[in-house]
């Protein structure tokens, strides 16, 4: 599952640990044994991924509910 889910404002964040700007790159998301890949803002050095509140409370919650369905 690919696609760019970053917003321009996400790329204004810096990784506090590495002190570099975030870049968009593939990140693997895993939930209940299911894995998917999406392009998300992340630190190019340590790989720390930024999940925005909008993404977490929006489509990420919707996907979780699908995977939780019996």
């Amino acid at each position: 599952m690919n696609g760019d889910y970053s917003r321009p404002e996400d790329l204004t964040w810096k990784c506090r640990k590495c002190n570099v700007n975030l870049v968009v790159g593939p990140a693997t998301l895993s939930y209940m044994g299911n894995r998917m890949t999406a392009d998300l803002p992340q630190c190019p050095i340590c790989g720390f991924v930024l999940i925005s509140e909008k993404l977490a409370l929006g489509k990420m919650t919707e996907v979780e509910q699908v995977l939780e369905d019996k």
């Binding site: 599952m1 044994g33 299911n34 999406a38 489509k59 919707e62 996907v63 699908v66």
Partner: protein, 230 residues
């Protein structure tokens, strides 16, 4: 918009892997059946030709496909016929295997199609079905008649009875509902909401009541392999 547009709509959202499990279930079935390299296989509802290309390229089978739509140009060199699954343009007993992946539940009269699959198989030939079934079919009455991939989805026991009554020996039934859930999750991710998922599959039925009925019927996914009795 018809039920047969669904592959195009799905492809636009999630790319080429437009059925649960993708080629993993195709490969599982091909291995299980142990076809010889000269096997003649027909893929019912071959769509974009993904299974045709795979079975020819990876197994060397002689393959051909049928599809009701005209979206069949991407199968690379294999014979493809535009035809209905309920009236196959082939003689009796000409195939070693019939693959029908995520198609049967789309058909308005799936029992006719199954009898056609039996007719074109030679004795001892294999029927490979992968499709949606209803794990709670008593809740399905509210979704009857909707033009969707659930139109002809039935319970496990009903599907197995259909197959056995036609003269098949059931060799394998496996539940792969996890693949269906995974695909639903991918679509929700791509479209942003479960609302989008329901509209994709049920464009003509927007009521919450219908959607609740679909959820209560607990759609699942199966792989069935049966052999035509000698």
């Amino acid at each position: 918009m018809t039920r047969y547009d669904l592959p195009e709509r799905l492809r636009a959202v999630i790319g080429d892997a437009i059925r649960p499990g993708g080629l993993a279930l195709t490969e599982r079935a091909a291995d299980f059946c142990g076809f010889s390299e000269s096997a003649r296989i027909v893929d019912i509802g071959c769509g974009f030709g993904t299974t045709l290309n795979h079975l020819r390229d990876c197994h060397g089978f002689w393959v051909c496909g049928i599809d009701i739509s005209d979206r069949i140009s991407e199968s690379r060199g294999q014979p493809v016929v535009q035809a209905s699954a309920n009236s196959l343009p082939f003689g009796a007993g000409v195939f070693d295997g019939v693959f029908c992946e995520c198609v049967l539940s789309l058909l308005p009269l799936s029992e006719y199609a199954l009898s056609e699959f039996c007719r074109v198989l030679q004795p001892g030939g294999y029927l490979v079905l992968s499709d949606i079934y209803l794990r709670n079919p008593c809740q399905a009455q509210n979704i009857d008649g909707q033009p969707s991939c659930l139109s002809s989805a039935v319970a496990k026991s009903e599907r197995i009875t259909h197959v056995k009554n036609l003269g098949f020996e059931l060799l394998l039934w496996e539940d792969h509902s996890g693949y269906l859930k995974e695909m639903a999750a991918r679509i929700v991710w791509a479209l942003g909401s479960r609302e989008g998922l329901m509209k994709l599959f049920f464009p003509d039925t927007a009521s919450i009541c219908d959607r609740d009925a679909i959820q209560r019927a607990r759609p699942g996914y199966f792989l069935l392999i049966a052999r035509k009795k000698e």
